[in-house]
């Protein structure tokens, strides 16, 4: 299964604003896969949102999942 993720801010500088990742059943495996492809991501601070909700634990993904990687917010 392939999942499309979107990236913002500093993360988009590293990996582009959108990336497709294959064979990732959950967010933990997604992170592992991204860290291999973009080693700089492993040392960069971010949270993961699935379907516009920030997740705090490993979350199962399906092909309709909207996954976003969000660096620390700096609005205002």
């Amino acid at each position: 299964m392939s999942v499309k993720i979107i990236l913002f801010g500093k993360l988009a500088d590293i990996a582009g604003s959108s990336v497709s990742v294959d064979n990732v059943p959950d967010t933990n495996s997604l992170v592992d896969s991204l860290n291999k492809r973009y080693p700089e991501l492993a040392t960069t601070k971010y949270v993961i949102a699935v379907d516009k909700q920030v997740i705090n634990e490993n979350t199962v993904l399906n092909k309709k999942s909207m996954v976003a990687l969000l660096p620390p917010f700096s609005g205002g």
Partner: protein, 147 residues
């Protein structure tokens, strides 16, 4: 199912003082209001490694930000006795000295308006997926981080 569609809070570029004036003026017909509280965020020409911030380029995960703002709005209205609340945030380029955030709460009595305004500002800074890229005078940049 949510009945109400989240209101858009994003505007392209800086928030003009004339826009703020119009927004204040519109409330003169609401004669049950006794106090307005307004917070304005202005882009600071911070020094970073000897260079200066010339402007901030704002981007957002808009869909998620509007849903979050919807929740914040509902929470604030449940907690405080407000007449109304308006929030605007810039996207794109905002120069040092220009306004990028406008939070405006109104109530019959000052306390609710003041407390609601402050809490809304704190929550949106912490919860809205918005990012500021500080463009420096030497054409390099720096990603801002809220404290």
């Amino acid at each position: 199912m949510k009945e109400r569609k989240p209101k858009n809070i994003f505007v392209q570029g800086p928030i003009a003082s004339s826009f703020i004036a119009d927004s204040i003026q519109k409330h003169s017909s609401k004669t049950d209001i006794g106090g307005h509280s307004i917070f304005l965020g202005q882009v600071r020409a911070d020094k970073i490694d000897g260079k200066e911030v010339a402007s901030i380029e704002y981007t957002a995960y808009e869909d998620m930000a509007l849903e979050k703002m919807y929740t914040i709005r509902e929470d604030i209205f449940a907690k405080y006795d407000l007449t109304c609340m308006h929030v605007y945030h810039s996207l794109g380029n905002v120069k040092a000295g220009e306004i990028s955030l406008f939070v405006f709460t109104s109530s019959a009595h000052r306390k609710a308006a003041i407390d609601a305004c402050e809490e809304t500002v704190e929550r949106l800074k912490a919860e809205l997926p918005v990012w500021g890229k500080e463009l420096l005078t030497d054409e390099t940049y720096h990603w801002k981080e809220n404290k």
